[in-house]
Amino acid sequence: MKNPGGPTDDRGALTGEVAPPISWQAPVAYWVVAALTVLVFALGAPTGSETTFSLATSKDFFQLAPLTVPAGPVTIGLGVLVAALAGYATYAAVRRVKVGVWVPVIVGIAFLLAFLVWSGADKGNAIAVPNMLTQGLVFAVPLAFGAMAGLVCERSGIINIAIEGQLLAGAFLAAVVATLVSNPYAGLLAAPLAGAAVAAVLAWFAITYRVDQIIVGVVLNVLVTGLTSFLFSTVLKENSSTLNSPPRLPVIEIPLLSQIPIVGPMLFRQTILVYILFVTIAVLQVMLFRSRWGLRMRAVGEHPKAADTVGIKVNRTRWRNTILGGAIAGLGGASFTIALGLAFGKEMTAGRGFIALAAMILGRWSPRGALLAALLFGLAEALRGTLSIVGSPIPAQFLSMLPYLATIFAVAGLVGRVRAPAAEGIPYTK
């Protein structure tokens, strides 16, 4: 059995010396980053200029003093650091040793810092680091929920293009129910129902009637957009105070943890929705790979016939997981409305369902990976905002491209080939 990209045969390994092929992709990517850091940022920073970072929010207990650094030397230092890591990666590649995940992480952070130092040089505005992280997370939350929804469905073999519609439906119902009951937590219960309802339609068409899953997904997005917009214009608009003024989910501060400098506010001064997200991801990560539920679901997504022959009801499993996925996306929809105390608005998800889909793929269909991908996107977005406020020399439209470019770079340079669940998109029939 041939197996592109994997070892063909473990018996062969007994003879012959080990000589894995050299993979140049990552080292080259690092060298490019190093060159950019030095050429653009270090040489581009005005001589003698300084950059200020503020490291605490007004609500922090430890008021870390703002940090002011000389732009030139720091960017050069960061450039050298990246170059050193690139050198290390090259060496490791030649020696055919695997480098740890810390290398790309440090390269990424160094590049980001250099970018920030360069952009903030002599601008007079401090770069608010904790805020940047927090806003990055705000942006990432619906993406992460959406990506979880996508992977629960796709791991069981159903392509969920309707994440966008599920988010939107969740946002809608969360807002309306929270307003009606005057309790944000009621909205939190309603949101998953809306997402699950959309998913049920997906499952009904895709599983029961074997319609092309991508068509159903794309069309469901249109359907939900149409329905929610229609209800918005005809019903919500005129009765906004009784139907569409949702109360806000309170921010729950975890006592000590939220005081951790810099990352504390991002992780531990959040609404319950964010904590639910963390729990969801952790539970999914474990359950997907370690539990009976996860094993069966992955079997159904990889080789449904094999699952069927051991007595697993393929379509029933798919139904359940598709609905679960929809519910998770619906919950993510709540982050658009009740988590921010915002009324529902037409098309307010603005395409984030599709970015969630990309995050899921970038994260290789794993909860942890998808979270990282969502955070990458969120942070790139937050970086964009921060830079634009600090006053970057780059035109707004190019700054806005930042998250998209970062994602392309990540998928081409670092992730490479990804493998989708083998049976996804294929209706199961005996």
């Binding site: 505005n125 608009k237 806000r248 608005g345 098309e347 998800t349 707004a396």
Partner: protein
């Protein structure tokens, strides 16, 4: 679904004036009629005319730019007396339709047609003048010495607010020797902070939080419903205020009244109503309607915030008078001059 049936209507209650035969029509741009912004305000003008003048109406909502021609076309099929097109995006489509149908009357909001046509009435607003006053007010009430503005997309009907706003802040600094910073817009390079959406309110929250983290405490969002994100974010941070745009935010958002010191009004509803009213008679002409501070087509909403100092309000009144009198000229590359 149960209840008593109403009596059969015996005579119709329609008005017997000439207006009854008049059909006012409107085509929105891609934002649609409930964009919480200028399409919506314009549509309110049409609805008011239906109610108060008894005219008939027809409308076509566009969902994307490719529909403008088609929508105008279907209006033409519909025997409209006046077709109001909303937004500069419809300018070319309106011009083309006007050329092909010289007997059909049009009114075009936020843009002129080039060349001007007998049957097209531009409806324009010197919004930057009102935004200028808002900028001045913002600079006067900031505690942190930093104010901010952001837009939905970099288009003139948005950036005209931002131009006026930062100029108003500069004027305040000039008059008072202060150094209030205005974040989010650089008038020289015409570059600044945009959410790239009029829909995703979460982006408004994020942008506003970024501004607050950078020290701003008065925010002017020019992004339709996305501005609600600013209200939400500001309400979570003590002392942060939001200046609303287009309509009076104080009336629209009762729950946020204490953080909305004022709004930059762009009187589209009134303008549309006035133009329709004039057209039901014989008073249609192709002269541009220009909303200014002088004719109150634009303006600053009543300041109900007790904390705004009296003398600041007086200064603003003076400035307003100077602008009305032409002593002070506020400029924006996005304003449209009609001569």
């Amino acid at each position: 679904a149960c209840g008593d049936a109403p009596e059969e209507a015996t005579g119709s209650a329609t008005s017997t004036t000439a207006a009854a035969d008049f059909t006012g029509c409107m085509v929105s741009d891609a934002g649609g009629f409930d964009d919480g912004s200028f399409n919506e305000s314009s549509y309110a003008g049409l609805e008011r005319a239906v109610e108060e003048l008894g005219i008939k109406k027809a409308e076509a909502e566009s969902t994307d730019a490719g529909q403008y021609n088609g929508n105008l076309d279907s209006m033409m099929q519909n025997d409209c007396d006046l077709i109001i097109t909303v937004g500069f995006n419809l300018a070319d489509a309106t011009a083309a339709a006007a050329e092909g149908n010289p007997d059909q009357k049009f009114a075009l909001i936020d843009s002129t047609v080039d060349p001007a046509r007998e049957n097209v009435k531009p409806i324009l607003f010197n919004t930057h003048e009102a935004a200028y006053l808002a900028g001045y007010l913002a600079a006067g009430i900031t505690e942190t010495g930093t104010v901010a503005t952001y837009g939905g997309f970099p288009i003139p009907s948005v950036t005209i607010f931002m131009d006026g706003f930062v100029d108003g802040v500069a004027k305040y600094n000039e008059d008072h020797g202060t150094d209030v910073k205005a974040l989010g817009w650089n008038k020289e390079t015409q570059d600044g902070e945009f959410t790239d959406t009029f829909d995703d309110k979460g982006q408004g929250v994020i942008s506003t939080n970024n501004f607050i983290a950078a020290g701003a405490d008065v925010i002017l969002p020019v992004a339709g419903p996305v501005g609600e994100g600013s209200l939400s974010a500001a309400s979570q941070n003590d002392g942060v205020k939001v200046i609303w745009v287009d309509a009076d935010g104080y009336d629209m958002y009762p729950e946020y009244q204490d953080i909305i010191p004022t709004s930059v009004l762009k009187g589209m509803e009134q303008a549309v109503f006035d133009v329709l009213y004039a057209s039901t008679g014989t008073a249609f002409n192709s002269d541009a309607y220009v909303g200014t501070l002088a004719n109150e087509g634009i303006g600053l909403a009543e300041v109900r915030d007790e904390s705004v100092p009296e003398d600041l309000l007086e200064e603003i009144d003076t400035l307003k008078q100077q602008i009305v009198d032409g002593e002070l000229v506020v400029e924006s590359p996005s304003s449209i001059s009609v001569d």
